[in-house]
Symmetry: C2
Subunit: 191 residues, 2 copies
Amino acid sequence: MSTKNALLEVTARLFAEYGWRGTTTRRIAEAAGVNEVTLFRHFGSKAVLLAEAIHCQAEADSPPPLPAVPTDLRSELTGWATNHHRRMREHRSMIRTCLAEFEEHPEIAPVAAGPAMESMADVVRYLTAARERGMIAETGSLEAATVMLMNALFMDAITRDVLPGCPVSDHDAIDLFVDLILRALGAAEAT
Amino acid sequence: MSTKNALLEVTARLFAEYGWRGTTTRRIAEAAGVNEVTLFRHFGSKAVLLAEAIHCQAEADSPPPLPAVPTDLRSELTGWATNHHRRMREHRSMIRTCLAEFEEHPEIAPVAAGPAMESMADVVRYLTAARERGMIAETGSLEAATVMLMNALFMDAITRDVLPGCPVSDHDAIDLFVDLILRALGAAEAT
DNA sequence: GCGGCATGCAAGCAGGTACTTGCAATTGTG
DNA sequence: CACAATTGCAAGTACCTGCTTGCATGCCGC
């Protein structure tokens, strides 16, 4: 089974870097140290191999959870955001490629977007629980706050290496984003 | 000069949809209603044509300005954000492709990122002026607020068609994002 | 030892890729 | 009218693309 796994792993890596068209069967075989025919004997076609490789990559990536009961909003959200940000950062190449490839290969969108949707729902749940406990103000859309925070983290993780002129440093960004969200939601704490 | 312009326009469109590798000289020529050799006679190579096409596209896209003197934060920011969002939405295909292509063709990054950086500086300037006039609170990072708002708008414009499960509707997103930023910055107004 | 099974190797197929060459037709300009 | 620039057309180059075929080699369980 090692050959198959090696092919899947190498294919995911090449796809992230070169996209669908740029990931040729010759390149895959060479990078995996395997003859090209072996690839076709295992998967039948390039399309099947690529789909399977992307699927595996996304599956191995379950989103980090937030506590069931909120206690310290700032530290819990910051910890979650740091974790989430790091994971997206690690996969930024794959994510960018999937975003661009969506137009020609829409079938890869749901599998790539799944984890993000789960995380989104988890954050909304967490903030709702916090509001029920009076830890944040009564007004302000929790859904919008969640989307805004996740969008900001997502963008930062994915484009920081492309747009080097960002006026917020890599190191501070997450803390500042969480701080702004807590301010926006009127979190009852001192800073 | 019409042939040259037609080629540039068609090339930008095809690049946004199919990426660098997918934009073949045959396809460009066919879509422009021009013989393939004409393309090479004008630009010499595919690389030159693509670079020029992307450059033109980005150049024609100057960012919308904010007022020099802030008067109504909410309406001015909402107007600006709506405009900015619409423009990014129109170019989402091109932006996604450029993001993915950055790895193989880093030379297209600065030209594509330029307008966004200008907008970013403009918003920071606007918010700084507002703070000087006492329209928002003294604390909270204006740079972080700007990055967060722009990241949120950017992501929404670029991925809404890819991630259909967003819990915030298309129509409300901009108002809600601006509302959260104003809350975070302690804007002195009633809502 | 022997029959499957995975793999390698060499070659090839039909089509696509960027790009070139040579020549004819058109068009606008002096 | 004559000349030059622009374009089209047909063909061709060398290479890459996904994919197939035929045959040889090693390995592992019976």
